[in-house]
């Protein structure tokens, strides 16, 4: 195994361990959030983002790491995001959690994984068509919110922290 692969495996192991400990891998938690009954996956995801955004802003600000924004391709993100939302609600897993769900015994995840592999092969076949249609509409490029708004990340990050903590307080008050 190469160094890259070993590092990936170790990182993935810790990621999977924490996803399982947070109990966010299950169909019940994923669909429970979409039915606004159980916001566990949002508590988990938003907590990761709050911590991660500070470290990444510090490291990129110091020039230690490079940011890697995904392009704000309007058709791709909006239409693709909508398709993902449809499939996610029915499948009850996302790509990363499907493997973790299989790891904790939820073997119906194999059908979701098989479907996603078929979907990836299908996308590869249809790529030339999408490239000349949906993906060709409008591309705003690889942009971050600070550049887009002209506001420092050190203003945006505290605002996101405050908003998210308020949301957490509301979740706990409502018992979600």
């Amino acid at each position: 195994m190469s160094m890259d692969q070993l590092l990936g495996l170790l990182t993935g192991f810790v990621f999977g361990f924490l996803l399982q400990k947070g109990r966010v891998l299950r169909f019940e938690k994923q669909v429970g959030a979409l039915l606004i009954r159980d916001m566990t996956i949002f508590k988990f995801m938003l907590s990761s983002i709050l911590v991660g955004m500070v470290g990444i802003a510090l490291l990129s600000g110091a020039g230690v790491i490079a940011l890697s924004h995904k392009a704000m391709n309007l058709g791709g993100v909006v239409v693709g995001g909508a398709l993902f939302g449809c499939g996610w609600a029915i499948m009850g897993f996302c790509p990363g959690t499907s493997l973790g769900a299989l790891g904790e015994g939820r073997w119906h995840a194999v059908f979701a994984i098989a479907g996603m592999l078929a979907g990836a092969a299908l996308y590869a076949e249809l790529y030339p068509f999408f490239k000349s249609t949906v993906l060709a509409w409008k591309d705003f490029g690889k942009i971050g919110l600070p550049e887009a708004l002209g506001i420092s990340q050190w203003v945006i990050i505290p605002v996101l922290w405050a908003g998210t903590i308020s949301l957490f307080v509301w979740f706990e008050k409502k018992g979600l």
Partner: protein, 180 residues
């Protein structure tokens, strides 16, 4: 806020915050050891895995496909990360006795009955649609939801709003409004 949940799990706030720490360590480690900053993600691995599988039956087709060429069909850092997720979840669930074989989840059973066949068809079709969408959007809840949001990418805010907004509508149509 309890550090543990009733079933032996950890608070999602704690486990999530630790994933934030993992993400920071990971971007630093990949930059230092691999020479390229890599962010947590999962859906590109499905493209590579599909390419590896398809190559066994139609190698020429894979070699000539523009998308497979673009995404490079190989077992890379992210591919092993996705394998690691399975192993980490297996070890975590086996050691706190939350490992549970399940063929049909309860919310699904309430709506569609105990048939494994129906669940299999639903999960398979849902998987196809979700992956076509994730590749079109260039990311899933890991790539956009975690990594993109941590970098304050504009695309991540839009993608996450679409994932969740459409997911809420479809889930309420499919599983029905039910107060439990």
């Amino acid at each position: 806020m309890e550090p543990k949940t009733g079933d032996g799990g950890w608070s999602p706030y704690l486990a999530g915050a630790l994933v934030g720490v993992l993400a920071i360590v990971s971007v630093y480690a990949t930059t230092t050891w691999m020479g390229k900053t890599s962010y947590l993600g999962a859906s590109t691995t499905f493209v590579r895995a599909a390419g590896i599988l398809e190559r066994t039956v139609a190698p020429d087709r894979v070699a000539a496909n523009e998308y497979f060429v673009k995404e490079k069909v190989r077992v890379d850092w992210q591919f092993m990360l996705v394998i690691g997720i399975l192993l980490g979840a297996l070890v975590s669930s086996a050691t706190d006795r939350s490992f549970k074989p399940e063929g049909v989840p309860p919310i699904w059973k309430d709506r569609f009955g105990p048939s494994v066949g129906k669940r299999a068809v639903g999960a398979f079709l849902g998987g196809i649609v979700a992956m076509v969408g994730a590749r079109m959007a260039d990311g899933c809840p890991s790539g956009h939801g975690l990594s993109g949001m941590m970098q304050l990418s504009v695309s991540a805010f839009v993608a996450l709003a679409m994932f969740f907004g459409v997911g809420v509508v479809v889930a309420s149509v499919v599983y029905g409004r039910r107060s439990s």
